[in-house]
Symmetry: C2
Subunit: 399 residues, 2 copies
Amino acid sequence: MNRRGFIKAASIASLAMALPEKIFGFERTAASTAGNSASQAGPDRGVLSLPGAQTTGSTRGIMLRFAPYQLSLRHSFNLASGSRTTTPDVQVEAVYDGIVGYGEASMPPYLGESVDSVMRFLSKVDLSGFSNPLRLEEILEYVDAVAPDNNAAKAAVDIVLHDLVGKLVGRSWHELWGLSPENAPETSYTIGIDSEEMVRLKMTEADPYNILKVKMGLDRDRETIEIIRSLTDRPICVDVNQGWHSKELALEMCHWLADRNCLFVEQPMPKEQIDDIAWLRERSPLPIIADEAVKRLADLPACLGAYDGINIKLMKSTGLREAHKMATTAKALGLKVMIGCMTETSCGISAAAQLSPLVDWADLDGNLLISNDRFEGATIQNGRITLPASPGIGATLLL
Amino acid sequence: MNRRGFIKAASIASLAMALPEKIFGFERTAASTAGNSASQAGPDRGVLSLPGAQTTGSTRGIMLRFAPYQLSLRHSFNLASGSRTTTPDVQVEAVYDGIVGYGEASMPPYLGESVDSVMRFLSKVDLSGFSNPLRLEEILEYVDAVAPDNNAAKAAVDIVLHDLVGKLVGRSWHELWGLSPENAPETSYTIGIDSEEMVRLKMTEADPYNILKVKMGLDRDRETIEIIRSLTDRPICVDVNQGWHSKELALEMCHWLADRNCLFVEQPMPKEQIDDIAWLRERSPLPIIADEAVKRLADLPACLGAYDGINIKLMKSTGLREAHKMATTAKALGLKVMIGCMTETSCGISAAAQLSPLVDWADLDGNLLISNDRFEGATIQNGRITLPASPGIGATLLL
């Protein structure tokens, strides 16, 4: 882990007293107050990090602190749409009544957000007017109205507030949602589109997982599956990322994959081809899951008839609150629910994992794909998501 | 209020030590343990009442205690389907770790449950296997599987557990759901089907309310509205209780009511006439709300196209947990949400009121229609629901 730049709250507070204000970018009194109370509060109440963070709000209400953080990928990430070795990310903290909550925005470029756009959005969010963080509905309605889109930036605020509220109440979110952690599903481990050598290497990393997720949509789809099938019989989830363009090819592939112990096919065709997807769904032996087609709750009703289920990701949904509503609504409508992620630290992953006892399938390996995680939280044990009992989103800053 | 039979926990506990076990119907050690811890716990943690209650479970896990309680109506209650002066009810308590939660089942006869059926159902519910009341999802899944139907009995268990969990966590349910109590809507006051003299009398009782609810579906529909309109211009919600049988009559009435400042029409025709209701909805100037047509979450998708909204009642929905899911799903599907009630004590009404900041309209006057309320909780101030800040469902036993 990259530990540079992450200092205990107490150190920040004392540094803030001694150094010019602009180095830290937040008001000295507020920082020292927040730092002191956080450091008194014990590990469950969180500690400040992010020196040099920008801030909004004040410690009289809820103060937000945020700073860019580039995620380093263990392997270059190849999708139908391109390849990369880092993911831009913004880390966020909320300070309220001596408690520090954590959140993050992860911005894989294809979603249209960037460090700049997220920092710009967060600098407009002023939570000093909200005296009770538990009022998540009205606070997040305000956040949603600050600017359109910016879903990852909104998710960062949502996650940080959920962490704060859970710590205030002294309970984890899976508890507050009434869920049993034993019901958390197995999670899949992602094998990207890669050379045979890399696929074989990743297969050894995937050893602790009972389900594999394979990215498809380039020209080596069958080859990748055949390499994996030469090594293991473990069930495979297939994510096409809109990579197939003909419904006939998609149907042929669904049959071929069904014969090879595949569980479902995610976003087989471009989301705009909804009639083709509905045609495929009627004929496919495998369930068809929406990913790119469903970001937020409002996108969900249109999935009926075209998809068998949805893949919820916090960075698409604007966070946990809307994700929970999406899972509830999808289940009520007879849709399967999957929870996925971007490459994220264990902060975002642990937040998403809180919802996992509600879902049919989980794909929460984004923290395992990076080499500079700042947190520990939800872990994988025997292929299954294991939720920490700690309050909030269950993420602890690595110091 | 009828105070006979409601004794402080400490008195029950000491009586239980002195008197034969069968008088109290619960195990002596359990009762005294529970009584002692509850009496140490202070008012927010609840106190035991219900001497002679039947019990299931044990204080090692969650103990349920329940006893019949007949609600006396202030006025005889006239509906399209009949008339009555009492409502059968079963009061329920849950005891866990020195905390007492409250719940109830109210059984207006047309819903098919009775004191006997509720007591029989509750005697089969054994929560001793659940060591953590926060795991509402798995506990209520178990309760739902104990026997089919029995929705009011299931609601009683759901409410008592929500009260327990809220008290354990130290928060009200509107807080745990992230809602702001200021968003609780105005509630309507119900004017039944009655003589002109009685309608005039009830109108004076309705004075603090800004919205009236008028029961229809007998032969004096227009007359009742005209009497009310001679006295006030306040908006009226109309509840037909399936009383109209012709779609043409229903449409004519909707137009007539729209001209007289009515807000919506609830369950205009028998729920089986769903095609006629869809026909009416396409043409009606007023929104058409489902009541008898929607009990539980599974009934909701069929409403799309036939209704503009749903009336959620805890005694239909099996309680708060499913009611919250119904409200979430309905809003996601663009349906309006109303929360209603049966004649209930302030226990059931306060529980339902916790959800009210989520809804478009509320009709939570069931406690005001009875003369022997055992609780205080949510109140009406200037026509608006006012939620207590106390943890759980916000109901305090009147001692």
